[in-house]
């Protein structure tokens, strides 16, 4: 029991600690690719610290929803993070929810963000929420299908089981093709869900392009801090999900300290790698028009479908 609690807390700390770093890393990579020096990788930490200390300004039109939302978003995203294996393949909270629970926990955050966007009453917030709605609704099916493709290969929807089996090299060698399809699909989904280029641009405040930023436009001070942090956490969640499901190499399958150390190291390397990859992708592509996003997510859906198809064809 105690051990479990310690593990959970550790996992939580890792996630909280890593998430700003990932954001910073992506920014750094992009800066580099744009031949700028860019801010330090640790800049996000500083931002958060400052935001926490600033006095928040709250719109007079808002209700308690507006102030409650940051906490709910933060909590739900972190909760989702605690359900997926980070550096140990068997997470203690595994029983609390499988991958679908993860998806819906993230949806909970999205829901309240939308409400908050509407609460301020400015048309920016509404615009953001409305766009978030369409993007979210298009990513969901692709996400579920790709998840299903993965779940099939391991005959389970529990992340720990999937990761553990994969880590012990069960059934991964048999047929990589469904995996690759699912991976590609999930990558696109991750980009969309975490509001990166080409779906959204976290670095802009142009009303024509922004989605996530528009929703949170009215936030300031500690509330903004929590939301920014939650956004980082969401990124971390997706990256860890991809990293550990598709490449659980090095993850600790036992609770031996050394194994866990290695696991942690491997985890950091993997997510950093993915962050760099995202940075590169973001620099390679331009942001799509909102109504082109559908095409991209359609592709993701089809990929996931193909993954499923391949699985059955190769099995039967």
């Amino acid at each position: 029991m105690l051990q479990a609690i310690i593990l959970v807390v550790a996992q939580m700390i890792v996630l909280l600690a890593v998430s700003p770093f990932l954001v910073g890393l992506i920014r750094k990579v992009k800066a580099r690719l744009q031949l700028r020096r860019g801010a330090s990788v640790l800049q996000p930490y500083a931002d958060l610290a400052k935001l926490f200390r600033k006095q928040p300004v709250v719109s007079t039109t808002t209700s308690w929803i507006f102030t409650a939302t940051p906490y709910i978003v933060f909590a739900s995203t972190l909760a989702a993070g605690l359900l997926i294996p980070i550096f140990v393949s068997i997470t203690p909270l595994d029983f609390a929810g499988n991958i679908i629970a993860v998806v819906y926990l993230l949806a909970l955050g999205t829901f309240f963000l939308m409400l908050a966007g509407l609460d301020a009453g400015s048309s920016f917030g509404g615009m953001g929420s409305s766009r978030e709605a369409i993007v979210a609704s298009l990513t969901e099916p692709a996400m579920i299908l790709s998840i299903f493709a993965i779940a099939l290969t391991k005959g389970s929807t529990n992340l720990s089981t999937i990761v553990h089996k994969t880590a012990l090299l069960e059934g991964i060698a048999t047929d990589p093709s469904p995996y690759l399809m699912a991976l590609a699909a999930l990558l696109i989904v991750a980009l969309a869900e975490t509001g990166r280029v080409p779906v959204d641009n976290p670095a802009t405040h142009l009303e024509l392009t922004m989605i996530h930023e528009a929703m949170v436009l009215e936030y300031s001070g500690r509330y903004l801090a929590l939301i920014e942090w939650a956004a980082g956490l969401k990124l971390a969640v997706f990256l860890s999900l991809i990293a550990n499901v598709f490449a659980p190499w090095g993850i600790a399958t036992t609770l031996a300290p050394t194994a866990m150390g290695i696991g942690l190291l491997a985890y950091l390397l993997k997510v950093s790698g993915l962050a760099v990859l995202i940075g590169i992708l973001e620099s390679m592509f331009a942001k799509l028009r909102l109504f082109r996003v559908t095409d991209l997510l359609g592709v993701a859906f089809i990929l996931a479908l193909l993954g499923l198809l391949f699985f059955y064809i190769l099995r039967s």
């Binding site: 926490f52 200390r53 928040p56 300004v57 709250v58 719109s59 007079t60 039109t61 808002t62 209700s63 308690w64 929803i65 906490y71 709910i72 933060f74 909590a75 909760a79 029983f95 609390a96 929810g97 499988n98 679908i100 629970a101 819906y104 926990l105 949806a107 909970l108 999205t110 829901f111 939308m114 409400l115 966007g117 609460d119 301020a120 009453g121 400015s122 048309s123 509404g126 409305s130 709605a133 369409i134 979210a136 609704s137 969901e140 099916p141 579920i144 299908l145 299903f148 099939l152 389970s156 529990n158 009215e218 500690r222 801090a225 929590l226 109504f291 559908t294 859906f301 198809l309 059955y312």
Partner: protein
Amino acid sequence: MQNLFLLLFAGYIGGLLLPLCFPTKPAVQNILAHGSAGLASGAGILLGVTGLFAPEPWTASVQSTIPFLSFAVRLDSLASLFVLTISLVGLVASIYAIGYVTEFYGRASIAALGALFNGFLLSMTLVVIADNGFFFLIVWELMSLLSYFLVVTEYEKAEVRYAGFFYLVMTHVGTAFIILAFLIFFQAGGSFSFEAFRHPEQPLPEGIRTLVFLMALIGFGTKAGIVPLHVWLPYAHPSAPSHISALMSGVMIKTAIYALVRVYFDFLGGQFPWWWGFIVLVIGAVSALLGVMYALMEHDLKSLLAYHSVENIGIILLGIGAGMIFQTYGLTEFAALGLLAGLYHTINHAMFKALLFLGAGSLLYATHTRNMEEYGGLLRRMPWTGAFFLIGAVSISALPPTNGFVSEWLIFQSLFLSFHLPTVLLKFMLPLAAAALALTSVLALACFAKAFGISFLALPRSSHARLAEEVPITMRIAMGLLAVVCVLLGLAPMVVVPMLDRVVTPFAGQSIEGKVLALDGWALAPVNMEFSSLSTPVLALLLVALSMLGLGLVAAFGGLVKQRYYKTWGCGINLTPRMEYTATGFVQPIKRVFGAIYQPTVKLETELLEESRYFAKRRHFEFHIEPVFQKYLYDPVVACFIGMAERLRVIQGGSLHLYLAYIFVTLIVLLLFAV
């Protein structure tokens, strides 16, 4: 149990008759009608619970003097479950009504309203416990008829009359199909008793069984509101007074689900070809998707909720369909899981849909309008209603840890189990159904973000909203009760699952309680911990704890600095309600992306200022979405029959000679051919 039933019966009958004794005192009528209805439904709750855990189904019957008709009732676990649901919602509706019907003092006869309300509840209860086909049909039609009269309570309005008549005809058409299905059983068994339906003298041939399947699907589907038979629903449900809408959307359409389960798993003994389940599954997916998509385009709050009933019926059918498919291939425990998930969602939907309709009713009560665009900022003026509505919205959007999430999660699991199925087609279609479910649920999320956000948040958009006040205590209590139930159903699956298990065991042939519940009830784990697991209590705890953590972090890093209030940044000008995002604007992207389904027609007229063409004097914007089913399915059918009638008209041309000729010819023809 007998006494409980008699108490229930007496309560409803009392509520039906007593108000009529005080013709002039609406207040008294109100109390009498809804008080005794509450009493009766309280008895109903007890009846349901006892029936659920009774070892043997309770039966009773009164022989009628009319041949083939006997008033037989049988309270098995399935019936008990629905009695429980109906009575629970009924109780809440009665409490709510006490406050709500004050709206109608002087505008409608409270006595009639209360009497119909009681009769409606009674008929629904009898529908689910009837044990004789004839009796079932009587109470079934009675249920439709009474609800029709409730729908047309405000009969001065033309649209209400239209809605009512449309409903009446549709439900009657459905009943015709049901009668046909029952008559097939009658042919086989020579009796209308359900026992004979279960075990006909000679087994029905395959073709006939298929006919029964289709007839029942169409007949009960009409009542349930499956696409494309759903068209009446978004008209009828909103037109009724809100506590009635809650009953209709919450429980009445569920009686159809009850009947489907009864016919397929009980009468037909759960023996069917794979494509039956497949059809149910597909219909479920289509209904779910189209239901939510049309809901998104509705800006009349109650119509929006009505469309969501279509959606949720679809979701329920997804579960039941999956169950049927598994049943075909003898995977009984998965079948049980699917059925259980479907029934779980049935109950959940009853609760949160009732809650939401009551919430909508409160808004109507406070603002006297159903148009969302005229709401706004109501959370501050009606905090309680707002909070309860939010709980309902979260539940129907299937967000953890509420009840909607649990049942949808279970349905997901049963769909994921499809890889056990032998045929590739099904292996492949069930995941697609899962994808459809995912899309549905997230669209529902968007829809309720709209519904709640536009109605309750930001600035009031009209004087209606500005002057709104919180509703009377009884209404709040009613909503509060349902909100609590919603949360409990989500947090305590360990209580609900065993109940449902008792229901599905007889049909699936085995109890799966042990397979679904793990960690002595703290987690759901179909079919084992290896495959999947979910623990809503723990998730809830986690969410609370982590929010606390958030607060802690805030305190730790910055300290709770006093926050400053200032008006929203409106690009330099003061924010007015007219600058807010409208519901129409909110769904615009969705409308555009799914334009193929909506086929929207947009009309924008702009009148520019003479001085400068950069400024518009006034803009007129309107958009309609194509009512596809009415236009391409219903109107042609109606036109066809009317056309035939018009053509027939000539035979009654008014000429005496013609008439004589008819008789003459008839005589000759009969003489020539009949002899």
